[in-house]
Each structure stands twice: as structure tokens, then as C-alpha cells.
Amino acid sequence: MIGRDLLIAGKTTEIETIVFGGFLLADLKFEPVQLYSTHSADIAPPTGNGEYFAELRDGTDRALQREPIAAERPLVCGGKAPNFWKLDGSIAWREGAVKLLLMKKDIAIRAFQVGPPPELSLQWSAKAVKRSEKHELRMRYSRQSADAYVQLFLEVTATKYLTLALGEPKPAYVIDFSSLPAGQEFRLVAAYTSGLRTVLQRTGRFSIAEKAKSAKSKSSRRATPAG
């Protein structure tokens, strides 16, 4: 999932840091919660416990960069102490890197292939929509990696975003405006992460209008059986 810092900064393709986080299960299976790249250097490197590390490696499997990973047992109240760890970390991008390894000491837990910067374009022409309507956002994107995903936001204000979709990229997204707020100056923001590299694209601004009351009541009356 895309960090808010990236959204607010509004940049699109530059990559300086790879951010990752998730749960490490007892069988050393890693379930990611966050996995994206960002230009921001605001993310402080986590303080590790000396057991978990992240490494960027080149095509010869040479380590280009190594950073500790913060690992903690999640505080789950009331139950037994959890037998999994929550891992959080980030690592600075290095040219020539082709994969990211998450490691427990010297054991590679999970490897993520790092691909070329992905491409993304959006097709959206609406300037004004109504809450009674559904509109389609068309998306074109470069070939995806196995872990690729798109996170689609509605930008309500410069600091307020609603996540509309999160998952594998699709060529079209049908957006149901009935559950979204009405107002002016909205944009759709798509963050496409593929091969650990993230790109952002925005649509033009549009308004969302309340559904016309007269139309609603008229329709309602027609729906009522006579007699």
C-alpha cells in the first residue's frame, strides 16, 4: 500500500527508497502489508534487533545495500502470545539492483524481483459526475511483475484520500460514486507498483454532484405499484 507521504508530495516516478512491511509467520512465510517504492527520504531507517535484514542485490547476487529490519511481536491482547512477527523496513535504492531479499540472519525469507520502472496511463474524460452514476476509469500499464498491484485513490483534498481499490491491476475500474462524497475538485490517483517500483498518475479534476432530488422522487413514484 502506498504511503501517504508519497501521495501528498505528488511526485510520480522517481525512486529513492523501497518501503516494505508485513507479518512473518512461524513457517517464515512473509505476508506483506506494505510494499512500494517512494522518492521520499523521510522514512527513518528502522532500528533492527540484529536478526532481520533487507538486502538489495545485483544480477551477480552481490549485495548492494543492507539495512536492518524492525521486528516485533504484535501485541495481541487477551490471546496467547502470537507466534509471528511484524516486520517493517525500508532500504535506499541502488542502481543495478535486481532483487530485494528479506533475511533472517543469513537465511533468505523472501525475495522480490526488482524490475524496470513501470508505465501507467489513465483515461478519464469526465468533468462532472453525479452520485447516482457509475463511471469507468481506463488504465494502461506496462507488463506486471508477480507482486504488482494498483492502489486507486479518490483525492478529496490535498491531505485527504479515499482508497477505492487495492489489488492486481485491471484495464478498467468501474467507480460507483454513490458511496463517495459530493464536492468539487476531485481527482483520481492511481499508484502502480510493479517489481517494487511505484509510479503515480492523476486524472483531471472533476466534480461529484448530489443525485437530483426530483429525479429520485419521480423514479420512486413510478416504482410504486398502482392501487
Binding site: 500500500m1 505476508e31 483534498t157 479515499l162 482508497t163 487495492l166
Partner: protein, 948 residues
């Protein structure tokens, strides 16, 4: 202001002075100076002025003496009565000119003549003595007066005169003449002094000129009708007419009293005074239409000297015949008095211990042509001759003397007193003109100067007329405890109890304890014969159960008419002695000193701690049926709420509790609990509590027990403004595991309904020291949790889905929701509510804005939710090891936490369930059950909220 006279003498005009006594001495003291100046102007010596002054003031001095004597009479001094009467008689005899003075004054005022000399004295003519309006109108200012004499002071003078003559109209006429003459003659001084007060020496000049022009010799100048010089004053240096205090009457030096020939005043102020006196005189002498013409009759009496023997041929009981033998019994007849037919003679004997008349008519009189039916307490037809009278003994006849009395004499006496009292009422009314109404001795409203003769006179006991007859009569038999007495009384074990009676016509009296319970009679017996006196003490009751004590009184005599018995009952009960000791005002947790801060608008319960004085009574130490009410004083506007009633359990209305000897805080119904409407929980308030019990410990078979009500006020409770938080809930749908690992929470819908979530979070807030500003649903999210996956449907139609086991999935769910929450810049706290069973897990960030936990219907479910919410509010665990071995990790050790090592020693009160939380209770941030916010936790969260 001083006014300069032509002669250069400038005596000060006297200032108006309030009456402090009969006359204004200070005002009078200035008058000689004015006279001196006026006389000097005429070339006359000051000594002559002094002689005139002495002469003018002679009446005032005598009136002052009468006033003083009258005051003593009205105060009950009998000697003063003799003294005043002798002096008045002496004055009347010595100065014949007084005779008829009262009538002359009344006549003059009534005719409107203001002046014998034809001058103008305005208003006097319109003041008619019998005019109702006159009396009241003038009376409004009469007492204040504008003259020397206090008008109101004349009231006791006239009242004293009337009293001195025993209200004998024939006698008091001469006394009233003397007072009227003195008062009228004094008018010349009043006129002169008023002229001086008004115009100084010029006023005195005019008064002298007026006197000269009308031939008044008072001032000793030429009148044109005679020679000049002073009139014959007798011996002006002889001083006052002597006032004889021995009661022999006035002596006298020959001083001439001006009242012999007083002249009508020319002064308006004096006219009013004299008019009022005339009204009073008219009433006293002529007015009272009912004034009896005769002296007061002698007080009626009874006699028995002519009775020689009394016999009872058939017995001594009611209905049997009594024969009176004797002589000169005469013949009873009927006379008419005041329009009523009254017998002239009747038999009197003791009935019910009272002298009672037996109105007797012999057969001849019964058929009398007058046909009068004689009213009376007892009418009996019987034989009456001059030497023998036969009387049928009336019911309730008792021993005592037999004799005769005259009902007609009583009727005449009472007619006289009635008339006299009516007249006194008229006099009082008339006296209002002079000031305050006349107050005669023993005179109150309604007027009753003379008491009528009530009842029947008792005959003397002689050697022959005392009879023994009738049954014994128990007038009263009462149970007593302190000041309480009656036929049935309620007693406490500490009460000293006793019996008292009043019996007549009895030879013997016995007291008996009828019930098996109750203190024995003196001497430890159950029956006491002929106890001395008319009461016995039974000592301190000392009972320890509710029961009735019954005692009986038996009175007997030898008359053969039967015995008399009466019973009394002591309802032995116990005074509960209720007290209100303290109150606890709680949102859920509170100390006994109410030190936990109260938050405005939070659901609040007041627990009332009461006490009582019952110990080992009826085998218990409790008081049942205790109820009460409470109201709230809003200090900010001084208004009281309506009374609130308890919310305790039970079927009673209003709810009642059984109050133990020692209140156990953990027992919900050991205290009276009141739910306070949240709108009253604002700013500073006071509570007024009233508790009561009705008919406590009534003995079996009765409903009579002790009822008590006590109240107490508690001040100084402040509800602080809340630092509200907003809650949004995300209900989760679960897909239960077919193997039963993952089930739906009983009592909760799947997904939980909005109402279930709101109620759950509302109760969660019991543990948090603030209100939820809002509790609303997180719209447009749909979350599904399965054994092996999570799905989040997003607003806009998107979906997040992860294949993961539910325990990990719950954690991922929280992380994802936290992430989504951060994006929307929403400061509310999101609660992800999962209806799982078992659901013993929850998770939150410390601090944070999101938590996940299961939702249930129990208090422990709500406490767990509050535990996670408290994490969001920066609260860490306490690592206290619980009884089942669980121990929360992280946070404080019990020692670091301090306060009771994570235990809650104060008793929480579940406001939502009206229930004290009993047993061992642990702090909210432990894993132990039950858990509740401790006072320290409450304050920690409050501190965090305040610092956000």
C-alpha cells in the same frame, strides 16, 4: 425656628415631640415664655402670666393623676380602684359644675356648636358622635394627636373610670362627668398651646384677644363685660388639688377647676379630641343598647339544706328510683327569660362525675296550659311534693351530693353578662376614634368582659344528701411512653412505659396483664389490686421482637350495677433510627471520598449509604422496606430537579431495599441507587436525599410500626467538561468455521447491527473518563473475515482480499484499516468489531486511532473493548499475573503501576446494568477478569485526553 416677639422676647417654638407619656411635658415647658412675652407686650407682670399658666394647667395635672390611677386599675390593682373612685366622688361633690359635663360635651359636639362666643371653629359641627364614618376617619390620626394630651391616653382614663365603678352605669356617670369636665376645661390650654406652637407669641396674642372678645376671663384682661384683673382663682399658690391616695377622697385647697365652666375650644386639633371623647362618652352613657339596667346578679349557686334523707327502694342503678325526703321543696315552675322557658328549680346530682341538673316536672306541671317543653340534659317526669321528690336515676349516675339549683337564675345571670359584653364591644368601637381600641381588663375579641355561668352549680355535701349509686366509671385508661399516651401506642424497646387511669364511682381498681408478653406489673405480678395512685410504671420495655402487650383495668363498687373494664395495647416495635451517612456519585468507578473526577453528561448513578439503629430485633440486624428519593440542585441557576426515585431491583414501587447493619459496597442493593439524568450532570450541583421506611416492624396482626423519614443535603459536586472523542465502528461479517473453531458470538448478529455496535460502544465508554461525542458507522466499508481469508470492500467498489488464516488476518485487517484511516485524515477512533466466539483477542496501536476486538453482550466484552480503546488513548498494560496464569506483556509491572498493584479496591458500579461489580476486580489494562478502570487509570486517561 425662633420667632421674635414685639417685646423682643424670642422664646423658641416647641418642636413636635412624640408622646412618651400622658402629655408632652417638653412642649408645655415652652409655653410660659410665650405667655411672658404676650403679657409684657400688654405691660403686665410676668408673675401674672405665671398665675394664668398655673390655672390653665390645673386640669392637666388632675387628669394625669387619674391617668396614672387608671393604669394601675387596668393592671389589676384593686387599691387603685378604690382610690380613683373616692377621688372622683370627691371631685364630683366638691365641684358641682361637673355634673352633666359629659352630656353637655356630647350635646355640644353633636349640635355642632364650636364656640359660645360665636367665633368660628371649623369642622366641629360636622362631627356627629354617632356617625360611623366619624369614628374611623378621625381615629386614623387621633392617637398621634396635635395637642398636649395623648388622645389615646384618654382611653385608659375612661376605661379606668368604668372599671373603678365596676362597670356600673349608674355609678360611673358622676365619674365620667368629672373626667369630661376636666378634659373639656383643659381645652383652653390646648388651644393656647397650639396657637403658640403654630405662630409663637403672635399666636398667644391672638388667643388672648379671642378670650377678651368672647368675655373669657381666663387671661385676666378687660372683657368689656366686667372689670379688669385676674379672675378669682381661689388660692393659686395652693398647688394642685390634693390627690388622696388613701381612698378617702380628695381634700382640697379650694382651687377652682376651669372645667366648671369650660368654653368650647377654638382650635381644630382640640375640637377633634373633644369630639372623639364625646363619641366615647355618648357610647358609655347612652350608646350601648344592651347595657343591663341592673347591677350584675349574684353568681348562681345550689343548695341542699332542706334534704333530710334519701332512699333507694329498688336499687342504686340507672333507671331505678331515688326518693328525696325533706322540707320546703316548693313546686317547680317555668319562667320565661330572654324568650326562653326555663324552670325555676331543678334537682342537681352527680352524673358521670359532674354536677348535672335533673329538670323535674310533676304531672300537674307537665300538663300546664303553657305547654312548654323544657330543654335540658335530663328531663324526667316524676313526683315532686313539698316534702318528697322521686327521681329516676339517670344513666351514669355516680356518688356525690344531691341538691337543688335554679336554672332560671343562671339564665338571668347569663343574660346580664351577654348584654354587658355587647356594650363593651360598642365602647371599644367608639374608642378607636381616640387611637388604639380601648383595652379593658380581660377584654379580647370577641368581647368577653363578663364570663357567663357555664354548667350546673354543685350542691354542698351535708350529712344527709351524699349518695352512692351507679356503676363504676373508667374515665380513661391509657398506655404511656414518654409524652405519648393512648389506648393503643407504638413503643420502642428503649421506651419507659406505664399505665395511667382515671376512675370514678369505684371502690376497687385492679390492673392486669392480659397478654403473655410485656413487662410484669410492679412486684413482678400479672395482677395488681388497688394500686396506690392512678398510674403504674412498667419500666423499660426492652422487647426484642415485634409483639403486642395488652393490659386491662377493672373497676368495681358495691352498688350492684356491674363492673367496668378497659384494655390498652402497646404495639411493641422498634424505632429504625435511620441515618444518611454518605453518597457516592459514580460513572462506574468512584472512591468513598468521591475523589474520582466527574464528567459532564456521562451516565451517572448516586449510591446512598444509609444506616440504622436496629440490632438483633426480630432476629435480624436489618431494616426492610427502606426507600427514598433524591433531587438535584443546579447551582448555576438555583433550580431543583423533580424528585428522582431509586432504580434498585424488586417489585416495590418505589423500589425499596433491606438495609443491613453494615453496608457492603459490593452488594448492589445495600445502597439506594439513583440514576441521574445526564442533563443534570453539569457544572456544580448539590444532592438532597430523603430516605424513609413505613410501619417498620409492625407486630403480627397489625400494620402499625414505626415510620421514619430523614433527609440530608450533600454539596460541592462538580461535573467537569468532557474531552469528547468520536467513535466509528466497522462491523465485521464472519464466516464461521464448520469445525467450531470460529463461531458467531451468542446474542450478536452477524454482522453486528448498528444498534448492537452503538450499545456495545456506549457501554465501553463506562470505563473511559469522557463522553463519546458521536458513535457512528464507518460507512461504505464491508469487511468479511473467514478462517482462511479477509476481504475488505471499499467505498467506490474496490476490494482488498488476502488469503490468510483468521488470526493473522485480524492483524492484517487492523493494519490495513489503520492505513486506510490515515489516508482520510479522520481524527475519530475506528473500532473494528468482530462477532466471533470465542473472541478473546483484540489489538490496538498505542496510542492510535484504530482497534479491533470482538463484540459481545457481557460486561467483560465491553471491558475488553475499553481495554483496546484505552490502548488507543496511550494506556499500556500492567503485567499482573492473573489467577489463570495469564499476564499481559509490556507496559508496567504491578510495582511500577503502584496503585494496589493493578487491583481495584474501590467497588465499581456498572451504571449500564445498575449493578455493583463484586469480587476481586482488576485494572482495565490487565488481562485479569473482571477488569475495570481504577481511579488511577481514570485519571491517567483523563490526563492523556487533556494533553492531546
Amino acid at each position: 425656628m425662633a420667632r421674635k416677639s414685639k417685646a423682643g422676647i424670642a422664646p423658641d417654638r416647641p418642636k413636635s415631640t412624640a408622646f412618651t407619656e400622658f402629655y408632652r411635658a417638653d412642649a408645655l415647658s415652652a409655653l410660659p415664655g410665650g405667655l411672658h412675652a404676650a403679657y409684657a407686650k400688654r405691660g403686665r407682670a410676668a408673675a401674672e402670666a405665671d398665675i394664668v399658666f398655673e390655672r390653665l394647667t390645673a386640669n392637666l395635672r388632675v387628669l394625669r393623676q387619674i391617668h396614672a390611677a387608671a393604669g394601675r386599675i387596668l393592671a389589676g390593682d384593686a387599691q387603685a380602684r378604690v382610690e380613683l373612685r373616692a377621688n372622683l366622688d370627691g371631685l364630683a361633690s366638691r365641684y358641682p359644675a361637673f355634673r352633666g359635663a359629659a352630656a353637655r360635651l356630647v350635646k355640644r359636639v353633636a349640635s355642632g356648636k364650636s364656640s359660645g362666643g360665636g367665633g368660628s371653629a371649623p369642622d366641629a359641627g360636622v362631627l356627629h358622635a354617632r356617625s360611623p364614618g366619624f369614628g374611623m376617619g378621625a381615629g386614623g390620626q387621633a392617637g398621634m394627636g396635635c395637642g398636649l394630651i395623648s388622645r389615646a391616653g384618654m382611653i385608659p382614663v375612661y376605661a379606668g373610670v368604668a372599671a373603678a365603678y365596676g362597670y356600673d352605669r349608674d355609678g360611673w356617670t358622676s365619674g365620667l362627668d368629672v373626667v369630661a369636665g376636666l378634659s373639656g376645661g383643659h381645652g383652653a390650654l390646648e388651644s393656647l398651646n397650639h396657637a403658640f406652637e403654630r405662630d409663637g407669641v403672635a399666636g398667644v396674642d391672638r388667643a388672648i384677644e379671642w378670650g377678651e372678645s368672647t368675655g373669657d376671663p381666663t387671661y385676666g384682661f378687660s372683657t368689656g363685660k366686667g372689670g379688669g384683673g385676674l379672675p378669682d382663682l381661689g388660692d393659686p399658690r395652693g398647688g394642685d388639688p390634693e390627690w388622696d391616695s388613701t381612698g378617702r377622697g380628695l381634700g382640697g385647697s379650694g382651687l377652682r377647676i376651669p372645667g366648671e365652666d369650660f368654653r368650647p375650644p377654638i382650635d381644630r386639633c382640640e375640637l377633634v379630641r373633644q369630639a372623639c371623647e364625646a363619641l366615647l362618652l355618648d357610647t358609655l352613657t347612652n350608646g350601648p343598647s344592651d347595657m343591663p339596667a341592673s347591677q350584675r346578679p349574684a353568681v348562681p349557686g345550689a343548695w341542699a339544706h332542706n334534704i333530710e334523707r334519701i332512699e333507694f327502694p329498688g336499687g342504686r342503678c340507672a333507671g331505678q328510683k331515688m326518693i328525696i325526703h325533706g322540707h320546703d321543696f316548693g313546686t317547680p315552675s317555668v319562667v320565661r327569660i330572654g324568650g326562653r322557658a326555663v324552670p325555676n328549680t331543678a334537682v342537681v346530682m352527680m352524673v358521670g362525675g359532674e354536677c348535672t341538673g335533673i329538670h323535674v316536672l310533676n304531672p300537674e306541671r307537665w300538663t300546664n296550659a303553657q305547654g312548654d317543653i323544657i330543654p335540658g340534659p335530663v328531663g324526667e317526669r316524676m313526683l315532686w311534693t313539698d316534702t318528697r321528690i322521686e327521681v329516676k336515676l339517670p344513666a351514669h349516675v355516680t356518688e356525690g351530693p344531691v341538691g337543688f339549683y335554679s336554672p332560671s337564675a343562671i339564665a338571668m345571670y347569663n343574660l346580664w353578662t351577654s348584654n354587658a359584653n355587647s356594650s363593651a364591644g360598642d365602647i371599644m368601637t367608639a374608642s378607636r376614634c381616640l387611637g388604639t381600641p380601648m383595652t379593658m381588663p380581660a377584654l379580647t375579641a370577641p368581647v368577653e368582659i363578663f364570663q357567663p355561668f357555664l354548667g350546673v352549680p354543685c350542691p354542698p355535701a351535708t350529712k344527709y344528701n351524699v349518695i352512692a349509686a351507679g356503676p363504676p366509671i373508667i374515665r380513661s385508661f391509657t398506655a404511656r411512653a414518654g409524652a405519648q399516651f393512648g389506648r393503643e401506642i407504638l413503643i420502642d424497646p428503649a421506651d419507659e412505659i406505664g399505665l395511667a387511669w382515671s376512675v370514678i364511682n369505684a371502690d376497687h381498681v385492679a390492673v392486669r396483664r392480659v397478654s403473655t408478653a410485656g413487662p410484669a406489673l410492679p412486684g413482678g405480678v400479672d395482677r395488681l389490686d388497688d394500686p396506690p395512685g392512678s398510674s403504674v410504671s412498667l419500666g423499660v420495655s426492652g422487647h426484642d421482637i415485634s409483639i403486642n402487650f395488652v393490659y386491662q383495668l377493672i373497676a368495681t363498687n358495691a352498688n350492684g350495677c356491674g363492673d367496668a373494664t378497659e384494655e390498652v395495647i402497646f404495639h411493641a416495635s422498634k424505632r429504625p433510627r435511620l441515618t444518611i451517612d454518605d453518597i457516592e456519585v459514580t460513572h462506574g468507578i468512584q472512591t468513598r471520598t468521591n475523589s474520582v473526577k466527574l464528567i459532564a453528561g456521562k451516565p451517572t448513578v448516586v449510591r446512598v449509604y444509609a444506616g440504622h439503629g436496629v440490632e438483633n430485633f426480630n432476629g435480624t440486624n436489618t431494616v426492610s422496606g427502606v426507600t427514598g428519593r433524591l433531587r438535584v440542585l443546579r447551582q448555576w441557576d438555583g433550580s431543583w430537579s423533580p424528585w428522582l426515585f431509586p432504580i434498585n431491583s424488586g417489585s416495590a414501587s418505589p423500589p425499596a431495599i433491606t438495609l443491613p447493619k453494615t453496608v457492603n459496597r459490593m452488594q448492589t442493593d445495600d445502597t439506594l441507587n439513583f440514576q441521574i439524568p445526564t442533563d443534570l450532570c453539569t457544572a456544580m450541583v448539590s444532592f438532597e436525599v430523603e430516605i424513609s421506611v413505613d410501619n417498620f416492624a409492625a407486630p403480627a396482626g397489625t400494620t402499625i410500626g414505626f415510620s421514619e423519614k430523614v433527609d440530608k443535603r450533600f454539596d460541592g459536586f462538580t461535573f467537569h467538561p468532557g474531552l469528547g472523542i468520536a467513535l466509528k465502528f466497522a462491523p465485521v461479517t464472519i464466516v464461521p468455521d464448520p469445525n467450531g473453531v470460529f463461531n458467531v458470538q451468542p446474542g450478536i448478529s452477524n454482522p453486528p447491527t448498528d444498534d448492537e455496535c452503538r450499545r456495545f460502544l456506549t457501554r465501553t465508554m463506562q470505563h473511559i473518563p469522557t463522553n463519546a461525542d458521536s458513535i457512528s458507522k464507518l460507512e461504505n466499508f464491508a469487511i468479511t473475515l473467514r478462517m482462511d481469508s479477509i476481504t475488505i470492500d471499499l467505498p467506490g467498489g474496490g476490494r482488498i482480499q488476502r488469503a490468510i488464516s483468521f488470526d493473522i488476518g485480524g492483524n492484517i485487517l487492523l493494519e490495513v484499516m489503520t492505513f486506510l484511516h490515515q489516508q482520510v485524515d479522520d481524527t475519530s477512533i475506528w473500532a473494528i468489531l468482530v462477532p466471533t466466539s470465542p473472541g478473546p483477542w483484540g489489538r490496538a496501536h498505542i496510542p492510535g486511532n484504530d482497534y479491533i476486538c470482538w463484540i459481545g453482550t457481557g460486561a467483560s466484552d465491553e471491558a475488553s473493548s475499553a481495554h483496546e480503546l484505552a490502548h488507543c488513548l496511550s494506556q499500556e498494560h500492567i503485567g499482573l499475573r492473573c489467577g489463570n496464569g495469564d499476564r499481559a506483556s509490556g507496559g508496567d509491572t504491578p510495582e511500577e503501576w503502584g496503585e494496589d498493584g493493578g487491583r481495584v479496591v474501590d467497588v465499581p458500579f456498572d451504571v449500564a446494568r445498575n449493578s455493583a461489580v463484586s469480587g476481586s476486580v482488576f485494572d482495565l489494562m490487565t488481562y485479569c477478569q473482571p477488569k475495570w478502570s481504577s481511579p488511577q487509570r481514570w485519571q491517567r486517561i483523563l490526563d492523556y485526553l487533556g494533553g492531546r
